[in-house]
């Protein structure tokens, strides 16, 4: 991936939630700076309450920053016209529960000033894409299961064929098959040259689809770099092959031992991002203030 223009620029962003009387209640974000570049899939990780959703809401102008600057698609977060090119899937699908799937997509399509023909065509396409069962499409959303709601939520986020897609925990509530589909969908978006910013807890998902990640802890940025860089361990070598017989394995082990390898284990590869995540969280607890953030220019 080449060094391309930033789609989102966040500089020293802080957010303090206040109560009715204006007294500070929670410091949800503390001096966050990051860029998301065109065409990449960027993952925002962090434990519960670390400020991921807050970041997305600030980017969308749903919340107002206490401090700091946001540029999104070259515009300010408060500018409504930026939304023409943005798709947003909220944490929970806050849709209108009395509408059915077609009506929902039709409604959001109208908000983009799409014509009736465009809306119809796009709705069909999206409902197929998110694999919402055809017999469910004419039922009101209040009767939907969590996964179905998630699917229609994704469909509404893509109604305008956005350049920048922001997904807040896209796989939550989806079955393994659904998660797989979702990951394929995200990769597909990337292939189409779209920029994706997503939050997730499911590290395996993030590892599969994200180019770069940032880990937040307590509203602070702790780690930010390319996923492959972060997961590459200089002092380990991993060998993947097709399935070997037990005899072959012991033979390979013997060869490795002869070359001086210690701690040989032959196993299925593990989700090592989980290790990184746990390590980061643990470290942040132990050593507040510590950061492992790649230099912005070198992380291409």
């Amino acid at each position: 991936m080449s060094q391309s223009e930033p789609v989102i620029e966040i500089r020293n962003l802080s957010k303090i939630y206040r109560d009715f009387w204006g007294r500070p209640k929670v410091r949800a974000l503390n001096s966050l700076s990051l860029d998301v570049r065109k065409g990449e899939v960027f993952g925002l990780l962090g434990p519960n309450g670390s400020g991921k959703t807050t970041t997305l809401k600030l980017l969308l102008g749903l919340l107002f920053p206490t401090e700091g600057e946001i540029t999104i698609l070259g515009k300010s977060a408060a500018d409504v016209s930026k939304n023409e090119r943005i798709g947003y899937l909220p944490e929970e699908s806050y849709l209108y529960r009395f509408l059915n799937a077609y009506e929902t997509l039709d409604f959001y399509g109208r908000l983009f000033n799409m014509t009736a023909a465009q809306r119809k065509e796009r709705s069909e396409k999206l409902l197929d894409l998110v694999k919402l069962a055809p017999q469910a499409r004419r039922r009101q959303l209040k009767e939907y299961s969590k996964g179905m709601t998630r699917r229609i939520g994704v469909a509404q986020a893509l109604i305008n064929d956005p350049d920048l897609v922001m997904l807040d925990e896209p796989t939550s509530g989806l079955d393994p098959l659904g998660s797989r589909d979702m990951k394929d969908l995200i990769l597909d978006l990337k292939k189409q040259g779209k920029t994706v910013l997503m939050c997730s807890h499911l590290l395996a998902d993030v590892q599969d689809v994200c180019d770069r990640i940032a880990i937040l802890y307590g509203g602070e940025l702790k780690v930010m770099d390319r996923v492959d860089t972060l997961l590459k361990s200089e002092d380990k070598t991993q060998i993947n092959t097709s399935k070997l017989s037990a005899a072959a394995i012991s033979e390979v082990e013997a060869v490795l031992k002869r070359h001086g390898a210690s701690d040989v284990s032959v196993d299925h590869p593990t989700a090592t991002l989980e290790d990184l995540f746990l390590k980061t969280v643990q470290e942040s607890r132990d050593r507040p203030g510590h950061r492992n953030v790649a230099d912005r220019t070198s992380a291409t």
Partner: protein, 540 residues
């Protein structure tokens, strides 16, 4: 309550003035409140935000998208429909079935009963529609914020102003739908409830009012006639067999005011006051003199006519009348010809009481030229139009209020505003603001209550009391401001005209109420815009 249709006479220029006051003041109030809120919440940077948003609003106004507004309107509509808000129809249906039983079905009915029927329908229609509108207007946006479905709307290119407008239009349209179904049913109900024989009681009289002045028993003009201590205090009384007269002037009298037979129809609703009880079954008598105000000797006086107490009475004057063998044309000879000093077409009419020591009472609206009637449905639908405007007003104020405060508070605010818009609260506020209410301002009255002082006791001039007075005067100014902002539903009293058998006049009722309603559009939309733009749309 006695209905005085002439009392609401408002010069159309005044209605425009009123429009400017409401629109101007309310807009100014909205701007000031928005600025203050921003300054309080954001400190000195509030200024910048205020002007940015102001400019942003203007930009949004010029790039409104009808399709987006319509999408939001439809959404409001479907929400109400799917959430069964229209169940109000059932209540309405039941009400009418039961009312039908209780109101009975006789072969012939009295005019007063017709009035009851019409009032019942028009009142039921508006009292069932307005609460629905109030609830829908006040709960729509707060629920959207509480459930955060608004997040999926504001992250689309939908402008805040479009959200506000979509809601207002959607709620109004639901109100209008409810209203039109109900009013069609109501209309059919009235027509069916009234027996064939009494159908002619359903009518819309079109009155032309004049200006009245009174002459006392010596024949001198006074401001008013005699007050006999009657409950209809607004009526003045003329004494029988003296020079006491009530004198009307009607303007622009011409052929159009004659009925189909070419006669001038005068209608009166005089009341009688007896200073001695003689034969109670014998009516009091009056006569009417039509005269040319420039040449009072050119006149025509009717035969003595009995006063129809509690009922209106018509006097039909033929166009050509003969007085002492001279024939007059009442339009050509009894009205003014028009000159530098006197405009053309003024007709003078003088009413005298004939019985000695008896009195006949009348007010300005108690004598009018009755133009050809209009069909009942004309007035009925005009009255419904008035209610439709109220629906619009309530939905605009409700939606605007609901963008700032929680739904129940918005509902209460809107309801209070609606109630205060009535005639009596407005009159009271007028008096209060003009300092005509005894006992002083709010704090002063409390002070008097606590100290057991009567409303007219002179108060000591001490510093504490000065503070009380300053506080009261601030409150007074605030009240004055509120008074400008609260709509005058006095213009919206169309049902009363119709119930009393009158047509609803454009100049003094429909146009002013249209103006009042339109005056609220700008400030209400502005209020909604500012609130939604400067608030974080998180449920708290």
């Amino acid at each position: 309550m006695y209905f005085d249709p002439a009392e609401n006479f408002i010069y159309p220029p005044y209605a425009i003035y009123n429009w400017m006051i409401v629109a101007g003041f309310f807009t100014a109030v909205v701007l000031v409140v928005s600025l203050l809120t921003l300054l309080v919440s954001k400190g000195s940077s509030g200024f910048g935000v205020f002007f940015t948003e102001l400019i942003g609003m203007l930009k949004d106004v010029f790039s409104l998208s009808p399709r987006r507004i319509w999408a939001l309107t439809r959404l409001t509509f479907m929400e109400a429909y799917r959430r069964k808000a229209l169940a109000v129809f059932v209540v309405f249906g039941l009400l009418f079935m039961f009312a039908g039983w209780f109101m009975g079905d006789s072969k012939e009915i009295q005019p007063d009963q017709v009035k009851v029927y019409i009032s019942f329908v028009l009142t039921a229609v508006s009292w069932l529609t307005l609460p629905v509108v109030l609830i829908l207007a006040c709960f729509g946006i707060p629920e959207d914020i509480r459930l955060r479905s608004i997040h999926t709307v504001v992250t689309k290119p939908a402008r805040r102003i479009e959200i506000v407008l979509g809601r207002m239009i959607g709620v109004s349209m639901i109100g209008w739908l409810v209203l039109s179904v109900m009013s069609v049913v109501g209309y059919l109900w009235i027509v069916r409830q009234i027996p064939q024989a009494s159908q002619e009681l359903l009518k819309c009289r079109v009155p032309i009012y004049g200006l009245v002045s009174f002459k006392d028993r010596e024949g001198n003009y006074g401001k008013e006639g005699i007050n006999v201590g009657d409950i209809w205090a607004f009526r003045s009384y003329i004494e029988g067999a003296t020079k006491s007269r009530a004198e009307w002037r009607f303007f622009n009298v011409d052929e159009t005011m004659l009925d189909s037979e070419g006669n001038l129809r005068l209608e009166n609703s005089f009341s009688a006051f007896r200073s001695y009880k003689g034969d109670m079954t014998r009516p009091l008598f009056y006569d009417i003199k039509l005269f040319n105000i420039e040449h009072p000797e050119i006149s025509y006086t009717t035969q003595p006519q009995p006063v129809n107490e509690f009922r209106s009475k018509q006097d039909i004057i033929p166009r050509k009348v003969t007085v002492d063998d001279v024939q007059y044309d009442i339009l050509n000879d009894l009205t003014t010809k028009g000159s530098d000093k006197v405009p053309k077409g003024i007709l003078g009419i003088e009413v005298a009481c004939i019985d000695r020591d008896q009195y006949i009472g009348m007010a300005r609206s108690d004598l009018f030229i009755r133009m050809p009637d209009r069909p009942f449905w004309v007035g009925y639908w005009k009255a419904i139009f008035g209610t439709a405007l109220t629906v619009l007003l309530v939905s605009m104020i409700g939606v605007a209020a609901s963008t700032m405060v929680k739904a129940p508070i918005a509902a209460v605010l809107t309801a209070v505003m609606y109630i205060l818009s009535g005639k009596n609260p407005h009159q009271f506020m007028d008096q209060l603001v003009a300092g005509q209410v005894q006992g002083g301002g709010v704090l002063e009255s409390v002070y008097r209550l606590v100290m057991h002082l009567g409303p007219s006791t002179e108060l000591p001039a001490n510093p504490a009391f000065t503070v009380v007075q300053i506080f009261d005067s601030i409150l007074m100014n605030f009240l004055w401001l509120c008074k400008q902002v609260i709509p005058r539903s006095q213009y919206f009293n169309m049902p009363e005209y119709v119930a009393n058998g009158f047509d609803v006049p454009w100049a003094t009722s429909l146009i002013p109420s249209l103006l009042v309603t339109s005056a609220f559009i700008i400030p209400c939309v502005m209020m909604g815009y500012f609130a939604l733009r400067t608030r974080e749309l998180e449920s708290k």
